[in-house]
Homo-oligomer: 205 residues x 3
């Protein structure tokens, strides 16, 4: 699965960049920007490993993710004005990361023999929990809880993966279809500005 | 302990409902509402299991709690206007959940051979940490840290349980007395609007 | 290492006092003040132990830290007006805690055979994560991400410790030099009002 590892690193870099940009917008210092990049890129997988009891978590087994996240965050910190041209491609990289993280998280949970709900939850968490912590560290309500088809694209991909792996389909194909589902749903949601329904507030009429 | 399991599920449902309502008030989308319901209902016990090293946490061993929390949250999301009549009973269900969670958490910690402070802390955490994460995800200072006799009712019940189980009292009776203590203290606090003392702010005169 | 244990307790007390003061400023009730003191003093080491898989975390093995944190927080809650004279010394105690926690955390990570990045991260986290949770529970962006040379003093000390322990230097001397580096950098930063660079906000000109 060398391709999966390449996508994993691409997604990690994209998530680190989005975290570092959030830190810059919050007027954090360079340490804060690095922490936000690091947490956004690796927080989801770390929380997944903690919950599943896979100890120590992946970031402490293969430090590549840590070095990559910090290097990307540092580059964003220094060159963020000159990297404006990457804002548009970042949406695509982020979507690739989303699809890859869902597949990696859900597969790992299946290996750990979790049930359907637990496995899909681990997939969604791998892809979204880092961004939630990024928003918490910025003292904001996590974006993913409020709007846009983001976590729900992950939910669809994770559930699809769980079901497909029950069939005789080769695992590489299962992974490809599931990741593509997440990526396509996410990009369609950005393109057509999809969002999920909200309940009307009880306190208003 | 079938009765304890029934109370546990009732408390889980009540906590999920309170979390889902908080998500609706925050104008979150349906995914956010489900996450808030889930986290409020299961976050305390999950954090307890993580800290005690009971891996994987209870929610991944018996997925009932996950399905129940999501089902309740979804019902609240859809029917919250028609469920107004449940607002008052919810206070009682919440108190039952509080008492049950304290007893379950403290007992589990005693089985894991924690000391007095650790065991009571695990009991209080089981009952209150989910609500704290709910408030953090809403970018608010946790309610439990600010006002009302809520965590302190749990503290009293957890400490009582720890002391009673040192005696020859049958464990079912110990559990019943401790849970009742929490529930009665909590309901009295709501009824008579009790709150804990605060320190005057140093910066004011 | 009796001296290290004494410094560890002194740092714990200083961190608990800073947490309790933050709770008082937030107008929390007595329970909230105790929780903030407890979390500030013990949260960093607890998160470190969770991430490294050292289960249960140190606070549940030796309850001294819990009792000390709560006792200090309670004293601060009751006597905070009369303890004004301690505000200045608190900066020194806090710096001692910072240096001690970095050394303890980094050493423990090295014993757990983490790599350079992981070990230094564990040292910095031991010293700073408790304060970050304190700020999150106050619904604030963590201070350490925004300003002052605080985490960076820890980074320097942790990296120095990792490198020195690769040499033949006796471990007591290595610990002393590393802790002193953190403490001196921190006190110089307070004295001369050092802070780290920030990126200019992309949205402003």
């Amino acid at each position: 699965m060398t391709l999966l590892y390449a996508f994993d690193l691409l997604g990690t870099a994209a998530f680190a960049a989005s975290g570092a940009l959030a830190g810059i917008r919050q007027k954090m210092d360079v340490f804060g920007v690095l922490v936000l990049g690091l947490v956004t890129a690796t927080g989801g997988g770390t929380l997944r490993d903690l919950l599943m009891g896979d100890s120590p978590p992946f970031i402490l087994k293969d430090e590549t993710y840590l070095y990559l996240s910090v290097a990307v965050s540092l580059l964003v910190f220094i060159f963020h004005r000159r990297l404006e041209f990457l804002t548009h491609p970042l949406i695509y990289f982020d979507a690739v990361g989303l699809g890859t993280f869902v597949v990696i998280g859900t597969y790992k949970a299946i290996e750990f023999r979790l049930g359907f709900f637990g496995a899909v939850m681990m997939g969604v968490m791998t892809a979204t929990a880092g961004g939630m912590v990024r928003d918490l560290l910025s003292a904001k309500v996590p974006m993913v809880l409020q709007r846009e088809v983001y976590a729900s694209a992950c939910l669809a991909g994770g559930a699809l993966l769980y079901l497909l792996q029950l069939t005789a389909m080769p695992s590489a194909l299962t992974a490809l279809i599931s990741a593509s589902t997440v990526i396509i749903l996410r990009l369609l949601a950005v393109r057509y500005n999809w969002s999920l329904p909200r309940a009307a507030d009880r306190t208003t009429t």
